[in-house]
């Protein structure tokens, strides 16, 4: 086999890894859409907010320090303590639960039974709000996120595959961070599936997803369910925020990872957790392979962004119900 072939395999593997990272973001969308029919535009900003909060807590930043400084003419930035990563993560989860509670209280409660587009719009408002609020709270400068996840090319993989492609081939490049992200994603999905299958709350969640009215009529509190779902989505956002933030630092652009998740959602369907995973893998591999085979050599590169969407679009045109959806029989 020529080195070119192994390069292709390498791109393929990295596509899978990138796909897992997309899936992590897509999962948050799916959870909320499934349980409440809301297309949560704020999911990306939630990831940013969670990551900012994590860094802020970990490094002992004073929240709203800009505002305090500007108002009182004082000069404070840090409390002067640092927290261990796990403690900070735990506290951030609490913050995200509080956030979910507030969202239900202040927003969703008042918008029950509205059309999907209105709810979608509300989440856009929410995204705006959190973007400003997060920056006010923690500042808009770039922050380094370090919870101790190693990153860089995995040397073990490289050494054990270098023999494949001859002298020119260094062995497969796989980022350790990506491998860990993949493991985390597997664990996360397993836990979510077990949770929804075997716990009472999980069953209630599924009941709500199937039919709001019916669930209400058997005494499941929709409001509690929404708080739980948004908390879980907040937790998923935190995981995504940690993975992406370790890579690029925590700053505004982190919220744009939502755009990477949208084609995944189209492909996998808005309501399917396995769909989010498989869709992510297909998108990841598809866009990387397209760039490798066609985009870079013939089209001048930077094709990934639009190709992910075009791939999902083509797929939908031939299979409108998505990857895991059942064939729709239309009725009148």
């Amino acid at each position: 086999m020529s080195a070119e072939f192994y390069y292709g395999v390498e791109v393929f593997l990295n596509g899978l890894m990138a796909g897992v990272m997309y899936s992590l973001v897509a999962l948050g969308f799916v959870l909320i859409f499934k349980a409440s029919g809301i297309f949560n535009y704020a999911q990306g900003v939630m990831a940013l907010f969670a990551a900012m909060t994590l860094v802020g807590l970990q490094t002992g930043q004073v929240p709203f320090s800009h505002l305090i400084n500007a108002t009182f003419g004082v000069h404070i930035t840090h409390f002067g303590w640092e927290l261990p990563a796990l403690v900070a993560i735990f506290l951030t989860v609490l913050v995200m639960i509080l956030f979910a509670f507030l969202v239900e209280r202040l927003v969703l409660k008042h918008l029950v039974n509205q059309e999907p587009i209105i709810l979608f719009m509300a989440t856009i408002g929410l995204a705006y709000f959190m973007e400003g609020f997060g920056d006010l709270m923690w500042g808009s400068d770039i922050k380094k996120l370090d919870v101790g996840i190693p990153q860089g090319g995995n040397v073990w993989v490289e050494n054990h595959t270098a023999f494949l492609g001859g002298d020119d081939f260094y062995g497969f490049y796989l980022d350790t961070l990506d491998i860990i992200a993949a493991l985390v994603a597997i664990v996360l999905v397993t836990v979510l599936v077990l949770f929804s299958q075997y716990t009472k709350t999980g069953r209630a969640l599924r009941a709500v997803a199937d039919d709001h009215q019916a669930a209400l009529s058997v005494g499941i509190s929709l409001r509690t369910i929404w708080v739980i779902v948004w908390s879980i989505a907040g937790f998923v956002a935190l995981v995504a925020g940690i993975m992406w933030g370790s890579k690029s630092g925590v700053q505004f652009s982190l919220s744009l990872i939502a755009l990477k998740a949208l084609p995944v959602l189209m492909l996998g369907g808005f309501t399917s957790i396995p769909g989010a995973i498989v869709g992510g893998l297909i998108i990841g591999v598809g866009e990387k392979m397209f760039d490798f085979l066609i985009g870079s050599p013939y089209l001048g590169g930077a094709t990934e962004n639009w190709f992910a969407y075009v791939l999902a679009l083509l797929f939908l045109v031939f299979r409108p119900q998505g990857l895991f959806g059942e064939k729709i029989i239309e009725r009148v």
């Binding site: 808009s140 770039i142 890579k247 690029s248 630092g249 700053q251 652009s253 990387k288 590169g301």
Partner: protein, 428 residues
């Protein structure tokens, strides 16, 4: 509803009426949005220098300076709003701080007779003062930057880079595409092989590009990045264990923000610069004394001495010096925008003057002229020392290859002149 809003807006405008007898320097900054991390230190440095002049010297030539900050979020439309809302307040010189805003302000400032200074960004061919009467981009532009990077490669290779492979990783936008033409010309001249790798905004995901680099094994990688793209690129370069000393960024890819997230592994990364680094200059003592300690610093004060803060400071210093020149030429302390333009065109920065200002060797000595608004195009290479967490200059301020660049500037500016029916000024 609409009427009510409009009245409110109007009254708010009235409240912010200009106080005269001030030298007004609008700063179209961005402390929010995708590039906030880069915008904050620059804006802080720009503002702090004028505060220093006010506090220490009582202004410039006895007149207080006033920095009008207007938040653009790097958006051209907000840039228009900022320009229109500040130009009536006696604005002397615009510092738009974004390629997009620069392009659309070029015709406007020219029509309004206000000068604009785009230091190390903007439209490169504005260096031709014959065509762009009101736009200045001294002391260096992107094409100088490209040439300076290649010069550095020539230096470390004993003057011969024939057959070497050089890859350019660039932000897929107007800004990122700027150096391509120059690099192509230089590749012809020096016989190196250039390959181009575009990264789409925002640049969070660059796996494909860096896998390609790993496959093709270029000898050197140049980078034209901004925002999160820089951090990710440096991290990915570390990840594939690309030798950092062979990785050179433009001055917008060479701040502490860009290298810190990658930690120790970023050690050795290089960037082109047109001004000095660090806070080892007398002027910083004054800033500490007159600005920070009195609680008048623009930002949190934690940015002082960083690369982008220094750049803002440097830009402010050049604006203040041009103001002095303008006061000298016009004989008035309270100058107009037109005086300011003349002052900028007659600006001369000497080593002696910089020493007086407490900034010895902070930037190159140069002289602006009617024909040349681009300055000397000199620059140096800075390198990141991860252990000390600071940048160090590893070369002197050297010249760029004007032999290649000047014809490109002439060509591009003349094309602009033709498209817009501008007759080049006679500069003799």
């Amino acid at each position: 509803m609409k009427l009510k809003l409009a009245t409110l807006a109007l009254s708010a405008l009235m409240a912010a009426a200009p106080a005269m007898a001030e030298l007004v320097y609008p700063s179209l900054s961005y402390r929010t949005g995708p590039y906030a991390a880069g915008g904050i230190p620059f804006a802080d440095g720009y503002a702090d220098y004028f505060t220093l002049l006010n506090e220490r010297d009582g202004g410039i030539g006895g007149v207080k300076a006033k920095v009008l900050e207007c938040e653009t979020g790097y958006s051209t439309e907000k840039g228009v709003e900022c320009y229109e809302s500040t130009k009536g307040e006696g604005a002397l010189v615009y510092q738009p701080l974004s390629t997009g805003i620069t392009y659309q302000l070029i015709p406007k400032v020219t029509a309004d007779g206000i000068p604009m200074h785009t230091m190390g960004y903007g439209r490169t061919s504005a260096a031709n003062g014959k065509v762009f009467s009101n736009v200045f981009n001294y002391p260096a532009n992107y094409w100088n930057g490209a040439s300076l990077a290649i010069n550095h490669l020539l230096d470390i290779n004993g003057g011969d880079i024939k057959g070497k492979k050089v890859a350019l990783v660039y932000h897929n936008s107007a800004y990122g595409k700027e150096p391509i033409r120059t690099l192509e010309e230089l590749a012809k001249k020096h016989g190196f092989e250039l390959s181009l790798l575009a990264v789409d905004h925002p640049g969070q995901e660059q796996k494909s590009q860096w896998l390609q680099i790993r496959r093709e094994k270029p000898d050197y990688v140049l980078m034209w990045g901004w925002g999160v793209m820089n951090q990710v690129a440096i991290q990915e370069a570390v990840n594939i264990r690309f030798p950092m000393e062979n990785f050179i960024g433009i001055w917008w890819s060479g701040s502490e923000n860009d290298v810190l997230p990658a930690g120790d592994a970023a050690n050795g990364y290089k960037a082109v610069t047109f001004h000095n680094v660090g806070n080892d200059f007398p002027v910083f003592d004054d800033i500490q004394k007159y600005v920070v300690d009195t609680g008048k610093a623009a930002g949190a004060g934690d940015q002082i001495g960083t690369v982008l803060y220094n750049r803002g400071l440097y830009a402010a210093m050049l604006a203040a010096e041009a103001t002095r020149k303008a006061q000298e030429l016009s004989g008035n302390a309270q100058i107009t925008a037109a005086d300011m333009r003349n002052g900028m065109e007659a600006l001369e920065i000497t080593e002696e003057r910089m020493t007086e200002l407490g900034m010895p060797g902070f930037g190159p000595s140069f002289k602006v002229s009617c024909a040349n608004h681009g300055g000397p195009g000199t620059g140096a290479i800075q390198q990141w020392d991860a252990a000390a967490k600071e940048w160090k200059l590893i070369s002197d301020f050297g010249p760029s290859d004007m032999e290649v660049i000047q014809p490109l500037i002439d060509e591009d500016s003349m094309a602009y002149a033709k498209e817009n029916n501008i007759t080049p000024r006679d500069c003799n």
